[in-house]
């Protein structure tokens, strides 16, 4: 699990162009949206692409993402359960 969390943090930094951030800067239990990383609606859409491209998980809409993108840990748990690649 911890390995997946680290991998996910690296991917998020990469696809969302979070310049200057390292995995240690992201608290896996903190909310991804709102305060914190300053992510917006386009970032949420890009995370949907990440889920499909890297883990084979297809999300139908952004609303579904809301629950899953609560924190990096929630995301990792969801991936662990649903991944197809």
């Amino acid at each position: 699990m911890e390995e997946l969390i680290l991998e996910l943090k690296k991917e998020i930094i990469d696809v969302l162009n979070l310049e200057g951030m390292t995995p240690a800067d992201i608290d896996e239990n903190a909310p991804l949206f709102g305060e914190g990383l300053g992510l917006d609606s386009i970032d949420a859409l890009e995370l949907i692409v990440l889920m499909e491209k890297n883990y084979g998980i297809k999300l139908a809409n952004a609303n579904e993402g809301k629950e899953i993108f609560k924190s990096v840990r929630v995301m990792a748990e969801y991936i662990k359960e649903h991944r197809t690649k």
Binding site: N17, E19, G38, I42, L45, V49, N61
Partner: protein
């Protein structure tokens, strides 16, 4: 009034080429019959996901094109043919010689020939928007360099406002405004990645709306100017006022408060001159909204309309008939609204049963009659841009009687003959090798070209993490704007409706378009990226600058074949003249193409002297 004369801008010909019909009147009749060619496609353009769209039949376009062109129909692309067909009809109706030098062509399109990025049998420059515009103008033998307006979804209204400016201040007698858009894997996949598309017919303003439908179309209007009101034909469409305002909020999400659109509505409604009485509301037949049927757009429009106290006015959307025709929408929907008002009709909003936008407004779900003789067209889009135009029909000569007494908004009322004094406050040039601010080289490239823009960011000590999410064009423009405004004392906290951003270039967003194409080119590695797609609209750079510096006035983007200081000066002085409230414009050339950066931007100030005096200016140059 001193130094002013009254005049009118009005249409003398128009045409719509849509999947429904090949004339304006034919389209109106089809809509009256409730027709639409929006339909479900399982794999349109080889897309893996289904979509609900409205397509122009290739064969129908080619057959019509053969009647006006003697050579191979393959000489032109589909979007060019549709545009030429629309313009040809509008010009014929206007009965003007389009090859005269007092005729200017203005093309409104967002993506033009972008499908050629997949494979291009034409010359290499064919995907460039200016190239399509050039071919269209050349078809009619027109000698002037055409102007491309690429302002995302508001382009069609922005192009009509640009036409009015060219007629009022540019010395032209006629403006041929053409809006044209065709669909492609590129465009549809991008909207799909945004989760913005409905898989069934769209339901504008409906409580159960779930996204938009895309559509193909071309439409054209010929506008002219005259100060002798007796020349205006009966039933002609008079362009009374137009305004563009930025939300300064987000590059893709509509503002929750509807602030930008409200500013545009208020501006065309009351005019900026608050000493004048507002346009008589009882004459307004309806508001033709953008009404895309996305959750946020329709909510935002309803908020703006009710905040403007127009909640009683019937509001309709035409998207359920044509879909969202992108760069064609503003032109097509203006013509349809004109057809409707000519026939004393308010077109019902197809697809909508139970309107439930965020603010209560009067959505016209059924087609009804009207005695009004004016309408407002609203439109909003990516880049935080919003536009409103106020139109009036010349009903049996009523209008020219009323024009002297109704002091409606500024567009057609006065012609300013005195030029305001405009000073260049700062200037910034960024190329592949150097950054020059106010004549001094502040940085020379020593590292690689691919890290150059980030190197500039670090060198100037900018702290704006969003910079790293931008495409190269936006990065370059954002850096230049940052430098232009450095060390200046102005209100950085509140949104400034008296500041504008007017930029132009040659490559539009092609650098990012090519990047986006790589995310969809390979069927086995097909992951369309929303973060890349959003930058495939050239005007996003004006939105990024508006957000960063809280600029709430006009934001406009034009595409021309090459940089022309004269053209730049003309467009900017027209912007100042048409928007008397403006005090500052960030303007210039911002191009990024094939790894080459070419930015020449300026901060201009109209003679108000709020930023600095001439002596302070020298100090800025020294810094």
């Amino acid at each position: 009034m001193k130094n002013t004369r009254k005049y009118m801008i009005f249409s003398i010909g128009d045409s719509i080429i849509s999947p429904l019909a090949m004339t304006s009147n034919g389209n109106f009749e089809a809509v009256m019959r409730g027709e639409s060619r929006l339909q479900y496609y399982e794999h349109a353009f080889g897309l893996p996901e289904p979509c609900f769209i409205s397509l122009l039949e290739d064969e129908r376009i080619d057959r019509a094109f053969e009647t006006i062109y003697d050579y191979s129909v393959k000489d032109y692309t589909k979007v060019e043919k549709a545009a030429i067909l629309a313009a040809h009809q509008a010009i014929a109706e206007a009965n003007i010689a389009a090859d005269r030098d007092d005729v200017i062509f203005i093309l409104s399109t967002t993506k033009g020939n972008v499908d050629l990025l997949e494979s291009n049998p034409y010359e290499p420059e064919r995907p460039y928007l200016w190239r399509s515009a050039q071919l269209i103008a050349e078809f009619f033998g027109n000698p002037n360099t055409p102007i491309v307006v690429s302002n995302a979804c508001i382009s069609g209204c922005a192009a009509q406002i640009a036409a009015a400016n060219q007629l009022r201040y540019g010395g032209y007698k006629y403006a041929v405004v053409i809006g044209a858009e065709t669909l492609s894997k590129f465009v549809i996949s991008g909207f799909q990645s945004f989760k913005a598309l409905s898989k069934e017919r769209c339901k504008p303003f409906d409580g159960s709306r779930c996204g938009l439908n895309l559509g193909e179309a071309a439409a054209a209007i010929v506008y002219t100017i005259d100060d002798d009101h007796t020349h205006i034909p009966d039933n002609a469409l008079i362009l009374r006022a137009g305004a563009i305002n930025n939300d300064a909020n987000h590059i893709s999400g509509p503002s929750r408060t509807g602030e930008g659109l409200l500013r545009a509505i208020n501006k065309v409604w009351a005019g900026f001159d608050k000493t004048r009485p507002a346009f008589d509301t009882s004459r307004l037949a309806f508001i033709n909204a953008h009404g895309t049927a996305t959750l946020y757009n329709d909510d935002m429009e309803s908020v703006s309309i009710s905040r403007a106290n127009l909640q009683h006015v019937p509001v309709n959307s035409l998207k359920g008939y044509f879909g969202h025709t992108l760069g064609a929408a503003g032109v097509l929907e203006t013509i349809m609204a004109h057809q409707a008002i000519k026939n004393h009709t308010i077109i019902g909003t197809k697809g909508t049963d139970n309107p439930a936008p965020a603010s209560p407004i009067n959505v016209a779900t059924e087609t009804t009659t009207t005695d009004g003789n004016a309408f407002m067209k609203l439109i909003s889009g990516f880049g935080g841009s919003n536009a409103a135009i106020l139109m009036e029909i010349n009903r049996n000569g009523e209008t020219h009687n009323s024009v002297e007494t109704v002091h409606a908004p500024s567009l057609q009322q006065t012609k300013i003959t005195e030029k305001p004094i405009i000073s260049v406050i700062s200037q910034c040039d960024i190329t592949d090798d150097s950054v020059v601010l106010n004549g001094q080289t502040i940085l020379t490239r020593t590292g690689q070209t691919d890290t150059w823009l980030a190197d500039i960011y670090r060198h100037i000590g900018m702290a704006y993490p969003k910079f790293f999410k931008m495409d190269n064009l936006c990065k370059a423009g954002t850096l230049a704007a940052e430098l232009l405004l450095r060390n200046l004392d102005f209100d950085r906290e509140s949104v400034k409706p008296d500041w504008a951003v007017v930029l132009m270039n040659s490559a539009s967003s092609l650098d990012d378009d090519r990047h986006y194409q790589t995310t969809i080119q390979d069927a086995d590695n097909y992951y369309p990226s929303p973060a890349v797609f959003v930058y495939t609209l050239a005007n996003i750079i004006t939105g990024e600058i508006a957000i960063r510096h809280k600029i709430g006035g006009e934001s406009s983007f034009y595409v021309l074949p090459t940089f022309s200081p004269e053209q730049m000066e003309k467009m900017v002085s027209q912007c100042f003249a048409a928007n008397p409230e403006l005090t500052h414009i960030i303007c210039g050339w911002a191009d990024y193409d094939e790894g080459k950066c070419d930015v020449k931007m300026q901060l201009l100030e109209k003679n108000v002297g709020t930023l600095c005096s001439a002596s302070q200016k020298n100090e800025i140059i020294k810094n």
